[in-house]
Amino acid sequence: MRKQQTGQSMDRVDGRLKVTGGAKYFADHHMEDLLYAALVCSPISSGTIKSIDTTKALRAPGVADIVSHLNAPRVPAYQSAKAGDKNGLQIFKDDRIYSNGQPVAIVVANTLERAVHAASLVAVQYNQETHYTDMNASMGKAFQNNRMKDYLRGEAGAWEKAAVTHSATYTLPLEVHNPMELAGIIAHWTTPDTLTLWAKTQGVKSVQETIQELFQLPEQNITVHSQFVGGGFGMALRIWPLEIATILAAKKIRRPVKLVITREQMFTLVGYRPSATQQLSIGATAEGKLTGITHQAVAITSPYEDFTEGIVAMSKFMYACPNVDTKYQLVPLNISTPVWMRGPGEATGSFALESALDELAHKLKMDPLQLRILNHADIDPERNLPFSSKYLKEAYALGAEKIGWSARKPVPRSTEENGMLVGYGMSSGTFGAYRGKATVSATLKADGALILQSAAADIGPGTATAMVQIAADVTGMPPEKITFMLGESAYPFAPEQGGSSTVSTVGSAVTDACKALQQQLGTMAIAHIPAFKGSTPETIIYEDGYLLPPNRENKITPEALLQQQQLPEVKVTATSQGGPERKKYSMYSFSVHFAKVLVHPATGVVRIQHIVSVADAGTIVNSKTARSQMIGGVVGGIGMALTEEAILDHRFGRFVNNNLADYHVAVNADTPPTDVYFINKKDPYINPMGAKGMGEIALIGFAAAISNAVFNATGKRVRDLPITPDKVLNTPVTV
């Protein structure tokens, strides 16, 4: 038998291309007649455009055109939208300004430099109106969106009656994805109603669908290419106004147009993790049994869309607690729409929940790990269903051992190393393990190559690599002979790469397509090869890339079969989706984070010395890319815990740190040795591979592990992220 491929640390199939510059990202594409675009963005945060003077800009060298609401081609779907609908920002529809940085015009020229310069020459006059960008000052406007109704299990506010209680407010600032690759698009109308796009997206099919609806064109008239994406973290899960602006400019000028936005514009045009304030209240018996959790969250959104996510989700099912109530409200501000950012709402919510648990443990004089184990949810208390698989207790034990949890002193501020206060902290995270619907085509060529195609995306996790491994195990073929192609709207449907679901969804379809291919080959062998006569496709044996009749007395390779039939290829297509198991089981991935931190008592500087993250994510398909995925989440988590915050000056509604020098993502020096462990036990129900999602749990819960460790080191509880030196200094010792 050939070696099993899933579980191996196979190198990325496109690794060489990526590190040698051979991988073509959207902006790397070039074509004849290509023009370059730059956006003119509003410096006011609310009001209307009074006038746009393009005289000077149009006279600048190389300028082809300037498109704004004054002259943009019609977008058919804009007209059919009902007034008052929260349909998002309809770019260039009218003169209304909703937020700072909103594009008001797009300048197109024959070089990027000329477009940028001309954009600075466009003179826009505004009628300014009062804007609101401060959530705390706008709490009166908080409202509830119907998608996120209040939740109640048992009695509301039951925590208050408990023997031991804790209630506090936890706040998170606005965070920006800031992947290395900037957003943008190339739009090329090859005929007045045929459009080709090179996009930065987490889903070519969703881009196609959005454009199809907006421009009311048939699906086949829109082609979207997106083979390589330089990071997404959620920001590329939808089409943004900047892309529509480019498409409109290309339509008007009748030439292909490329837009790549600036780093500064990444703060206002492609979403962000919404700032949120959360009141988390929790009560337990004197022995530490949870009796009530009340979780109330308020987060920001834009004036023209209600963005909701799973902020309060984890509090409903993570712990066995009879009484839980949650509330989630939105505050609309003059700021662009948020979007999912890695670990989306759960990362925000888990900071509150997992910090509160630590605070409760402290009051109970109990080890916070013990408190979690004591309240472990053996079944999902929200849906009252068994979990499809859950090895959280194993993960706790493994993580505790690897970090050396026994060295943790229960009394804060009691350990010092070389003048630094030492603390240990831990937390848990969870995220739904999903499986959607996807279609994969499998083509076997006469030379024995297997080509799989699906309109999936790879924003970095190594999708094609995992798919090749899965296909290799189903077919018994060597991975070198298998190619997985993605990122083309012409391929069979796959959903967006989001919610940690690609391996589950597309991997299942790969499995089914490979099986369908085997069926087809089997049928062919039965019909044409004497040794196979009389057998049924189900009884044919597939082994190491061969087909064998049930008696094993013969074997043939698929390519020999094709050659014998003089067929250039055999192609099958399979669609796959989950079944009733999703109704019978509650499916989640789990993570556990442990950290050892050092805090300088005089300056408040926090240094993380060691991190252990353990994932219960079912079968690990590729141990190398899975490890990278977890480390990436940890790095994002360090940013969330210690450094990241996009700061607005509310007087202007403008960000003051909209660049990578001042918006601090964690750098190498912030990132300590990180040990990643996987439980690596198959989930029996979720999908054929038994693989649950991993991308989100890598980050969810992490920030709380750090703040809990800072408390253990210093006796200071910082409930307002990020934990910068000034906050550590300003927070009193509370033990």
Partner: protein, 325 residues
């Protein structure tokens, strides 16, 4: 960015002549100037690239270390003469920016870099430094990173350099050449406080070029420390930084030098604290007294009140680290 012309003279004279015409500017590593030009903060019609001038030497002459203004920050930090004679400077350089930036940044450019105040960088916001009489955006705005010493309502920005803090502590001298000839400026007089001319960062004359920096001989080879407190472990500007240099003999501080970064419009020397340390034993208590003296005149704003305590603590920490090597 506007269109501009570009020249690359090979002599000092030609460079000074070239910069005198058409709203021209010198460019060295370009790590600061290009960002400012791209943001429209600085508009220049001509760039005079000085990288071909013979100003890249480092020599020790009668105990005086001469450093050409085009020496790269990375080269200077690793130079044997610097590491042995002025380790404080080496430490300060290595605390600045990132390896990639230090590989491009020059000594002259580092001294001339503009503040990182967000209001200076954003041309839609008020800023007296960028656009005199438009007001100080930071005063009533986000001022967590801003000055606690020597500022006024015209400008509360800080000078962002780390290198300059060490050079101020080491009593360096700046050598400049201009249309009217050569002159020397004591390092501590090179940068200015905002006063009524916040648009001026320093006392370099129009069309003058920094040719070198010189550091006199000293005894600060052992008990030195550059402490930089920042929001992430690398590649971030200082919340506060402290350059501490002590000459300790016979258990007594013979001479002390203290300067701070991230707290004022210029590298901030702390003469009163230095005086308080001179002739004293290097004890925790004496460090505490000196640190408290140093921060007595601090004036803070809405978001940077933490800097007074942080500065006090950081001075003590730097002194402690300087004495426990």
């Amino acid at each position: 960015m506007n269109q501009f012309s570009y020249v690359r003279p090979t002599s000092l004279k030609a460079a000074i002549e070239a910069v005198a015409k058409n709203n021209a500017r010198f460019i060295a590593g370009g790590t600061n100037l290009l960002d400012l030009m791209k943001n429209g903060v600085i508009i220049s019609d001509k760039l005079v690239d000085i990288n071909r001038l013979p100003l890249k030497d480092i020599q020790l002459d009668n105990g005086v270390l001469h450093i050409g203004s085009l020496v790269l920050n990375s080269d200077l930090a690793e130079h044997e003469l610097v590491k042995t004679h002025h380790p404080l400077l080496s430490q300060a350089l290595l605390a600045g920016a990132s390896q990639q930036l230090r590989n491009m940044a020059t000594v002259g450019g580092n001294m001339m870099q503009r503040t990182r105040c967000s209001y200076y960088y954003d041309t839609t916001m008020p800023c007296n430094k960028r656009s005199p009489n438009s007001g100080c955006g930071a005063l009533g705005g986000i001022n967590r990173m801003h000055a606690i010493f020597g500022a006024n309502d015209n400008c509360i920005a800080v000078h962002p350099s780390d290198m300059c803090v060490a050079l101020a502590a080491l009593d360096a001298t700046v050598l400049v050449s201009g249309p009217k000839g050569d002159r020397h400026i004591p390092f501590t007089d090179f940068h200015r406080l905002p006063g009524n001319t916040p648009q001026l960062d320093n006392n370099l004359g129009k069309n003058e070029l920094i040719t070198a920096v010189e550091i006199p001989a000293n005894n600060f080879t052992k008990n030195v420390y550059y402490l930089k407190v920042r929001d992430r472990a690398s590649y971030a500007f200082a919340l506060v930084s402290v350059a501490a240099a002590l000459d300790i003999r016979d258990g007594v501080i013979q001479q002390a030098r203290l300067a701070m970064g991230g707290v004022a419009h210029k590298p901030w020397r702390l003469p009163d604290a230095e005086k308080a340390l001179t002739g004293k034993a290097p004890t925790v208590e004496n460090f505490r007294i000196a640190a408290n003296i140093a921060t007595q005149s601090a004036k803070t704003y809405k978001h940077n009140a933490f800097k007074t305590a942080l500065a006090t603590n950081s001075i003590q920490t730097a002194l402690l680290k300087a004495t426990t090597v």
